[in-house]
Amino acid sequence: MYSDKVIDHFTNPRNVGVIADADGVGEKVSASCGDRMKIFLKVSDGVIEDIKFQTYGCGAAIASSSMMSELVVGKTLEQALALTNDDVAAALDGLPAPKMHCSNLAADALHEAIKNYQDKG
């Protein structure tokens, strides 16, 4: 059902936690299944220096949060804004069809956090 990459990220999620003095915080809740992701960013010179997440959700939700965090750490905000949910799923070698629309929210949550950072601007 889940790819090896999903299982790996689910079992050993990278970057779990909070950043107390985050520069940007964002979250996203899935309307269909209630999955919830909360993203904390540390930004410096337009680059994501640190990222942490908290996720309430199934294996796909946790794995995509973890994968997203790995994909964007060290990237510019511009690069991070270009990341889509589908990119995250692809990096995980795919997600089962029923999960694509309910648990695959990590890029959206990230964009919320970036927006929050920029709004503070």
Binding site: Y2, I7, T11, G34, R36, M37, G57, C58, G59, P98
Partner: protein
């Protein structure tokens, strides 16, 4: 890695004795039981012997047993077959909010076809209110369908009392006993049942065979039309090996009630007590006493069920979750919802279904690995950290 199977409400392994009894019917006694020649005759005897065994399990008569392919077919036949039988009149059907989808989706389909439907709510333990049932009965009510034991929580309905109400009002009573067979005594006379569904693979017979008990005199229009098999109530060449297996499993099921069930119940209670003492903010779903002895459904606040399930699975433990989008057998739990459980709690429900192969070591292993799994997931959960923050 040791594999611990705690999903016996989803399906069970075929018992050794059952499989052995089935084997001669694939290549040696392979005839069609409807045939009158040598190849059919001995096979038809084996089918009738199995019918007697299933009847004995339920305290019914052999001619009241209709073999089907699964519990869903039995339920669909009971509901649609009754409604079609009464086609000439107004029809109202009463059921409950916690029935299996085979009943609820049949009822929804019938509703679209113009049948009036009442779906009774349940309380926090998953029980129906018998007074509400009485009030729901109308002059055109033709059927009450209420399950014997719930597949998600294990809650047992007071079937004998429901049966008595149905009898008093001269309404036919169908009960889905798919989960009850082999776990609690099931007696169609004591419970005054007219139609009862069972499914082989839930108690040691193979997948692909089930039965519907049809009380003598209870008219039913077939769902599957064709030849005269099953006295015109269900056409199609009989699944002989499956039926033979169902017969043997039925015999074992009766014996198990004394031999296995007390042991399984004690293990289930040990699991429940262990979880409650080791993990905080836990809710047991279902009635604590009136419950299938092998079933424990428990919710863990702040986290999601499928994630728990996956971590258990990685350590060899197979259980079931009410929230796994992809798990057909459980579905998004309309049962826990109907009990008024907070949606987040409902989303974290895990069902452990013990079976004859479960032993103390299995339970203790689960009690060892479960607390760190819950902790790990809670540590990841925004809800948990917000709550901790105040």
């Amino acid at each position: 890695m040791k594999r611990i199977y705690l999903d016996n409400n989803a399906t069970t392994a075929v018992r050794t004795e059952v499989l052995e009894a089935m084997l001669p019917f694939y290549r040696e006694q392979f005839g069609n039981p409807s045939s009158i020649h040598w190849a059919g005759r001995s096979v038809s005897e084996a089918v009738e012997e199995a019918r007697e065994r299933v009847a004995r399990l339920l305290n019914a008569r052999p001619e009241e047993i209709v073999f089907t392919s699964c519990g869903s077919e039995s339920n669909s036949l009971a509901l649609r077959g009754s409604v079609d039988f009464f086609e000439a009149r107004d029809r109202h059907v009463i059921t409950t909010a916690v029935e299996h989808p085979a009943v609820l989706n049949s009822v929804r389909f019938l509703e679209k076809q113009g049948v009036a439907v009442t779906v009774l709510p349940v309380d926090g333990d998953g029980l129906v209110d018998l007074e509400q049932l009485e009030v729901a009965i109308r002059p055109d009510t033709i059927l009450i369908s209420a399950m014997w034991g719930n597949n998600e929580t294990g809650t047992l309905f007071p079937v004998a009392e429901i049966g008595a109400i149905a009898r008093r009002h001269k309404i036919r009573f169908h009960t889905d006993a798919v989960q009850a067979i082999g776990r609690v005594p099931v007696d169609v006379q004591a419970a005054e049942v007219d139609l009862l569904s069972l499914s082989g693979h839930k108690f040691g017979a193979p997948k692909g065979v089930g039965a519907l008990y049809v009380r003598k005199g209870t008219g039913l229009t077939p769902l599957i039309h064709g030849g005269h098999q099953e006295r015109g109530r269900r056409a199609g060449t009989l699944n002989v090996p499956g039926i033979v297996g169902l017969g043997v499993a039925s015999e074992l099921a009766t014996a198990d009630l004394d031999r296995q069930v007390p042991r399984i119940r004690a293990l289930r209670d040990r699991l429940e007590a262990g979880i409650l003492s080791r993990i905080s903010e836990v809710r047991v779903n279902g009635h604590r006493q009136q419950r299938l002895p092998n079933t424990l459904n428990v919710s863990f606040a702040y986290i999601e069920g499928e994630a728990i399930l996956l971590f258990l699975d990685m350590q060899g433990v197979a259980a079931s979750s009410g929230s796994a989008c992809m798990s057909d057998s459980f579905g998004n739990s309309h049962v826990i919802d109907a009990m008024g459980v907070d949606p987040m709690m409902a989303n974290s429900s895990i069902r452990f279904g013990l079976g004859p192969d479960t032993d103390e070591e299995d339970i203790d292993f689960v009690l060892e690995i479960l607390p760190p799994i819950i902790k790990k997931l809670r540590d990841m959960s925004p809800f948990y950290s917000e709550k901790a923050a105040g």
